[in-house]
Each structure stands twice: as C-alpha cells, then as structure tokens.
Amino acid sequence: MCTYMMISGVCRVMDSDTISPSIADGAVILVARTAITDGGLDHSIITGLKAVGVVCIIAPGFARHLYRGMINNGIAPIECGATDHITDGDTVEVNLAEGHLTHGTTVSDFSPLPDFMRKILLAGSLAAYTEQEIANK
C-alpha cells in the first residue's frame, strides 16, 4: 500500500547489489544490505521495477543519478542501513513524512521526505506530478 504518508507491504531482501525486476516477486519493498552504486541499478531497471509494482527500495546509500531516477519514477529511495533485522517476506511499514521504518517492534530512523517529494511519489512520476501542478495553477 502506498499513501501520501506511508508505504507498507511485503519486502524482499537482496543479498547482492545487482537488482532486477524478477527479484521483486510480488513484493513492493526491496531491501538491500549494501549501498546501490552505478553498477547495481540503471534507469531501465528502475522502470522495470516500477512496472512490477515496487514502490520503495531501502539501502544504506544510492548513487546520485539513481536516487533522482527513482524519485522521478515514483519509487521511494530510503537511505537506512539498520535493516539487518528484516528478512525475506517480512512486512514493513515506511513512514515517509516522519522518517520511521517499522518492522514489528523495531523502529529505525531515516531522513523524512518533504511534502512535495511525497506528492511526486504519490503521483507516480515527476511527469504526473508536473501535470497535477499545472492543473492546480
């Protein structure tokens, strides 16, 4: 589920830093144990992940253009390294507005996303957000 404030759902943990849409396997949240650099993800994979329903990727860090690419395609990049307690198939809740990652009773913190960023994610892409802003003007 993805709302303006919160993302919650089943997650898939990735052991390697190379991601592909097939890894998602029905999960909406992907968790990476290592930072995602240039080689681990590219724009075609981002759109592929989007197509299979992934709305959030949690990792200790992201390469800059990948971070931007994910936001602009409606996938929330959450920079949080404290994910060792999360295993495959677990349900987690990501509070985008307050910056909390909740897994059972464990709560980890990350930098919250401001209002306009959450609107981009909720709209699904930067293009859709821009259309909404134009319509609101």
Binding site: R64, S111, F116, L126
Partner: protein, 540 residues
C-alpha cells in the same frame, strides 16, 4: 490666471537636491505636473536624478556584517577601494561593533558568543547559499530537499527530447524564455535524417517560444557558449541536460546536470527538486610546474578522490594555485570534477572572475562566497609544486598515472575537444608545440575548437594555418564527439588519447578500444612522436 513662475536653473538644481524626483518637485511647487518639471529640466540641461547604486542601508549592513572592505566589495561585485569610497560617502568611518569589542578583548561570555555567532558568517557553504536563495528561504541544511528556480536552463541537441516531454503537458508557453539557452552543438557532419528532423523541431519551437538565446550549430560547444556569452553569472544556479554542466562553476556559479524529463518540468513549472549536497573543500596550493596544466591537476585530484570520492557532493575549489588560474583553466578543473562523481563544482569568485565579465555582461550579479566558518564534509589540501604531467589510463578517469610511466605506448587517434579543452589557450599551446613539426603518419590528430569566436581568433593568429600545415584535422566549432555521436569513433583495438573526462569502455565507439585522458600539451607532444610522450621537454 496668474502667470506661472518658471524656476531658474539654480533653483531647479536646489529643488532636485532636496526632493530628488520630478514627482516630488512637482508636489512641492504645487499646480505643476511632473511632466512639466521634466520638461523644464531638459530645457535647462539638468539630468534626471539617479539614485545611488548602493543605498546607505545596504553599505551599512555589509560593513556591520564583515568589517572588511575587500569582503564587502566582493559581496557587491566591486573593488576594495570602491567599497571604501561608498563607505566614506555615507560617513561610515568607524569599525563595526564586533571588531571594536574584539580589539578591547572584552570577555563578555554569553553576549560575545552571540555576537560571534551573528558575525561569523552563518556557517554556510556556497551551495547552501545559492540553493537557499533560489528556493526563496533564509537557510537550507545539507541533505535537505528543496524546490529551486534556476537562473539558467541549458539544453543542447537533447532539447528535442525535452520539447517532446514539455509538449506532453499541453502547455503553450515555457516558464521563462529568457532563462533558457539552447546551443545546438555537435551533429553536423554525422547528422542523420532523424537528427535533422530533431534540429528542425528545435528551431521551430525556439521561434514559437521566442527563446532569444538559441545558438545554431555554427556557434560551437554548448558549455563554451554559455560561459563565453555571459549567460551564467557568479552566484547563480544553472541546470543543464548534460553531465559536463558542472563546468560553469569556473565562474562561481553552481551548476548541475539533470535529465530531459526534469528539464521539461523546469520549462513547465519553473522549478525542480534538489537535495542540498554536502560540500568537499579542495585547497590547491603552489604553482603549476613547467609542462603541467589544469588537466593534469584535475587528473591528479581525480586519482586522490577516486570516481566516488565526491559522489552526490559539491566541491569548492580554493587555494593559491586557484587564484593564478584563468577562467579557461578553471573550466577544465570543474569539468573534470565530473570524474569524481560530483554534483557540482565551484571556483572562488575573485578578481579574475570579475575581469572576465567586464564587457561580457551588463547584468548585475551577486557572487556567493562561502562563510568563514562553513563546515565541509571533507577538506583536502594539495600542493602542486612538484606535480608531473598525468594521464588517465583506459577504463576509469581516476586510473591516473604519471605520463612518464606509460611513455612509448602507441596511439591511433588523438582528439582535442570537449568542455575540458578546445579553448584558445589550448590551441595556442598546441600550436607552439607543433610549430615546425608534423603529426606522426600513424596518428590522426583531430581538434575541435570550442566556439566560433575561438575559431576566428585562432584563424586571426595563424593557429589554424599552423595546424593544417602540421597535418592536424580541424573540425567545425563544437564540443567534440560523445557517446551517442557517430564521429571519430574508435574501432576494436584502437588506442586514443583525448582531452575529455570520460574514458569508460564504449565512450567512443568500440568497447574494445582504449581511451587515455591527458592534457592538450601531452596530446600535441604525443601527436609528433606517434606514442604517448611527456610534454615537459616540448614546453618552453
């Protein structure tokens, strides 16, 4: 009706001194319109009152803040002496309070700390200052997300993609055509039918939107044109749909690359989201030795920081060596910053920058300087007194070694161009090295002058003739070949030496080709011998 008394010239001058504007003078005289006062003024050759360029409040506020004529002058874009004159004009002879207190060495405890906090410049980097100003907020913190309105939006041939995405929004007009610059660059000789169609679409769009700053492909490389024509000014925020947009940092602007969808959103809304980066400070001290140029310094720093060393961060260059560099050399340095994964790179605003803009722009600008107590995620200090010419070996731009270690490696092509070179200084240096020599028969040396004005200057000074006589292939003014172009491509096993900042496999055609990166001097010296050659002995 009594005849109106027309004031004499002396009376009118006196009135102007007291009341300044025609409207106020008319009000004072009564029964007179401002237009009549203006008419009297013109008849008596009295110019219109002009308000001082800087108000009393402005000068006073800066003086109280910095207490130093040089720093205050930099904020306003004037010299130290000019600011002193302004200060005298408004009678500000005393030092500001905080300097007086420091001199008295009063230990005021709490209040002194307050004064220190107020006057020690706010702990902001250049990136923080510029993003805060463009976001319309007082202050931004590193890591914060803000929506900013850029001062400049640049796109080259990929403007066609931007236009398509912009038109999908259904808008008739862009946000501000005066802030959009479109230099077409590239794709002349290797122009396919499809590319010609894209160029036509851009030309038509530009006319419809009344975008004045459009430069067709005869004008040259996109980044060179933007800087050369004064489109980006110190203290401004520039966004471009090209990774080498960071080069604008050479003039004290903050510049970053974005993709075409983001640029379409900028054209539509006039703003885009940005994450305020942390800043790395790099101090470059010393003097460049003989044979060493800005590209060597850039490669040296790329090796020290590595390609991820400044990832998602901005770089502030400074140091004694920086102040000796020309704008051309600074563009090479900030262009090379891309090899460190940086978001933006800025050089300090100083006399060199101010002189660069004299006669180049009439637009006012406010340079941004880092606060004295700005905090940086990392600070590096390098001394380049004993630096040797460097070369990036194939595969990665940070795979840097001294040229002497790979001397003798055979080459097939040498390409001079891109934002890192192709400027007049580089062409003159190459011409000096090539003088009286011929390009080795086994090597093709291809030069891309950065812009039409550089080409004309080189023609005037005889450099183009010298190149042609030496066997150099001189191309039309442009940035040079890129990954999506069809010119100067390398075949399997070919070895190329280029002055770019990208030498990944496949950057210029075949993935089995090898690309070395080096300075124009190394390139020219290597062109003579046909193998990679240390330029030190060729440089006077």
């Amino acid at each position: 009706m009594p005849r109106r008394k027309i004031p004499t010239k002396a009376e009118l001058i006196q009135l102007q001194k007291l009341y300044k504007t025609d409207e106020k003078i008319a009000e004072r005289l009564g029964n007179v319109t401002p237009q009549l006062v203006a008419y009297w003024r013109r008849k008596k050759n009295i110019p219109k009152h002009s308000f001082p360029k800087f108000s009393d409040a402005e000068i006073r506020e800066l003086w109280e803040r910095f207490g130093d004529d040089y720093r205050c002058g930099l904020e306003l874009g004037i010299s130290k002496a000019a600011f002193y004159n302004w200060r005298r004009r408004y009678g500000l002879k005393d030092k500001p309070a905080f300097l007086k207190l420091e001199q008295l060495e009063l230990n005021l405890g709490g209040p002194k700390k307050l004064i220190g906090k107020k006057y020690h410049y706010g702990q902001r980097t250049i990136a923080q200052k510029i993003f805060a100003e463009r976001a319309g907020v007082e202050r931004v913190e590193e890591g914060e997300f803000v929506e900013v309105e850029p001062d400049l939006a640049m796109s080259h041939l990929n403007a066609a993609d931007v236009i398509e995405k912009f038109q999908a929004f259904g808008l008739n007009y862009v946000w501000n055509p005066n802030r959009i610059v479109i230099p077409l660059d590239c794709r002349v000789t290797d122009c396919s039918n499809h590319d010609s169609g894209l160029q036509k679409a851009i030309r038509e769009f530009v006319k419809r939107q009344n975008i004045k700053h459009f430069y067709d492909f005869r004008e040259g490389g996109c980044h060179q044109i933007v800087v050369e024509r004064g489109h980006v000014l110190p203290g401004q925020l520039a966004l471009g749909t090209d990774v080498e947009t960071t080069a604008y940092g050479a003039v004290g602007a903050l510049a970053a690359g974005i993709d075409t969808q983001e640029m379409a959103s900028v054209w539509a809304l006039g703003k885009i989201w940005i994450r305020v980066p942390t800043t790395v400070k790099i101090m470059i001290n010393g003097r460049m030795p003989r044979g060493v140029f800005a590209m060597d310094v850039g490669l040296f720093i790329a090796k020290k920081l590595t390609s991820a060393g400044a990832a998602y961060r901005s770089i502030e260059f400074n140091g004694t060596a920086m102040t000796q560099m020309s704008i051309s050399e600074r563009m090479t340095l900030t262009g090379m910053a891309r090899a460190m994964g940086t978001k933006a790179a800025v050089c300090p605003f100083d006399t060199t920058t101010r002189r660069f803009f004299v006669g180049r722009t009439k637009m006012p600008y406010r340079p941004s300087l880092a606060d004295k107590d700005a905090s940086y995620s990392d600070t590096y200090e390098f001394n380049i007194d004993s630096l040797v010419p460097k070369i990036a070996c194939p595969g990665r731009a940070d795979n840097v070694r001294p040229v002497a270690e790979v001397e003798g490696t055979s080459l097939d092509k040498i390409i001079i161009g891109s934002t890192n070179s192709g400027r007049f200084d580089d062409l003159r240096l190459m011409a000096d090295i090539l003088k009286g020599n011929q390009v080795h028969p086994d090597v093709q040396l291809i030069v891309f002058p950065g812009s039409r004005s550089i080409y004309l200057e080189a023609l005037k000074k005889g450099l183009i003739r010298a190149f042609v006589e030496a066997g150099v292939v001189v191309m039309n003014p442009q940035s040079g070949p890129g990954p999506n172009d069809q010119q100067c491509l390398l075949g399997d096993g070919e070895r190329c030496l280029a002055t770019f900042c990208d030498n990944r496999p496949g950057a210029l055609g075949s993935e089995k080709a090898e690309i070395y990166l080096a300075s124009p001097a190394t390139a020219a010296a290597s062109a003579i011998s046909g193998v990679i050659t240390d330029p030190t002995r060729f440089v006077g």
